[in-house]
Amino acid sequence: MNLLTILTDLAQTMFSTVTDVIPIAVIIFGFQFAVIRQPVPNIGKVLTGFVWVVVGLTFFLVGLERALFPLGKLMAQQLTDPVFIAGGEALNAVKQAITLSWQDYGWVYLFAFLIGFSTTIAEPSLIAVAIKANQVSGGAIGIWGLRISVALGVAIGISLGCYRIVVGDPIHWYIIAGYVVVVIQTLFAPKLIIPLAYDSGGVTTSTVTVPLVAALGLGLAETVPGRSPLIDGFGLIAFASLFPMMSVMAYAQLSQWYAQRKRPEAAQS
């Protein structure tokens, strides 16, 4: 590692982040000048804000690329390696077919759970939505309450998704069953939370989560006998988008239930 490669890395990433931002900036300022035809209030502050966003994303992406992604991918490979899963004594028998059942992948599920949880906590999009939801709800929805329940949803989703890859079930049965649960929950969840819960499915999977989770899925599909990376390797992101809807609604239902249970007690005493 030397300074020069870091600087070139930063410059390249900065360039690609700027090219990502340009279409957005063109649309925003184009409409602002051509359609709305009013000066932007605090234009200086807004532009500085854009610069901070670009600089922030640049550092964030370079850091991920240099440190976390290689490590995450390496760990995904090591954990899904049949030699590691079967334990040291099977080392000699590697060349012969090792028969593994789904229970042998315990560490993989745990890793999937923990990596899903921790990457979601660090997800910038989710932080943005949580800040907004907190403002709009006047503080009724806590930033941390939302982030933790979304992260739990992603964690459960990804470990279940890994189990699916190991056993090789078709993905649509899981997704359709998940939809049924979401629909049933929608009938009972507090009305205020429903749109936010639906949104939280979409925001969880971006910059941090997608590359790490994709590496885990492809690693598993490559090493589990009888799985094709092309067909079975996909689908983890879909799981990670579905389960937060359930967990956020469950969080709202639980807190409502808790509040209702407390109220009569308070009235009695």
């Binding site: 690609s16 649309i27 409409f31 999009s125 639906y198 979409g202 983890l236």
Partner: protein, 234 residues
């Protein structure tokens, strides 16, 4: 900065724990790792700062300006341009589209040469971008009308399930995944601010009930469009 440290602590803990306790091998390139983590910390801190100074305010002022101007047509054009323009350039989508082309080629759905794969991948990208553009238009229209979101989403699910029955098996996993990858880190705050801003500047709309939900629609429509694309291209 302190907040960013708290945000990243779980990832570090998970990696260190698994590496040292379960895999039992020393961490490779510790110095490089530390520099990377420092960059991620700085990046997250700057990003959140920029979000509050730039993306949130511009999203909301534009929503207010459109609501005051009262031109539904231009608002919907803007919604479409924002959805389509940001999705077409999304790096995650470009990556997924390339992989999808590989799958299609290996399943003999398209020719295995580079030109066929490239055109398949580009077609997929434009399909997804179109679907996100339409989703934001529909979502903004919903905010204007005050329709409950759950009918749209549940209706969408039913369509997804029906399409799943007819779509080629190879495309299903990718179609489901493409719903999740469409909304980028810059788009999400902007679209959220737009929705919440609109809902709070229109009388009779509740920003909590009506302001959210745009992202959900933008995650749902790509699933349908990609499956349809898979069926049509077969």
């Amino acid at each position: 900065m302190l907040g960013s440290i708290r945000d990243l602590a779980p990832i570090i803990a998970v990696i260190v724990f698994f590496q040292l306790v379960i895999i039992q091998q020393p961490l490779p390139n510790v110095l490089e790792l530390l520099v990377g983590v420092l960059f991620v910390l700085l990046g997250l801190t700057f990003f959140i700062h920029g979000l509050e100074q730039g993306l949130f305010p511009i999203g909301e002022t534009m929503a207010h300006a459109f609501a005051k101007k009262g031109s539904v047509f231009w608002l919907l054009v803007f919604a479409f341009a924002l959805g389509f323009g940001t999705t077409v350039a999304e790096p995650a989508l470009i990556a997924v589209a390339a992989e999808a082309a590989e799958v299609a080629a290996s399943g003999n759905m398209i020719a295995a040469d580079e030109a066929a794969k490239a055109s398949y991948a580009n077609g997929l990208r434009f399909t997804v971008a179109l679907s996100v553009g339409l989703a934001i238009v529909l979502g903004v229209f919903r905010i204007l009308k005050g329709w409950p979101i759950q009918y749209l989403i549940i209706g969408g699910y039913v369509l997804v399930v029906i399409l799943t029955l007819f779509a080629p098996v190879e495309i299903i996993g990718i179609a489901y995944d493409s719903g999740g990858v469409t909304t980028s880190t810059i788009t999400v705050p902007l679209v959220t601010a737009l929705g919440v801003g609109l809902a709070s500047s229109i009388k009779g709309r509740n920003p909590m009930i009506d302001g959210f939900g745009l992202i959900a629609l933008a995650s749902l429509t790509p699933m349908m469009f990609v499956m349809v694309y898979g069926m049509v291209m077969l």
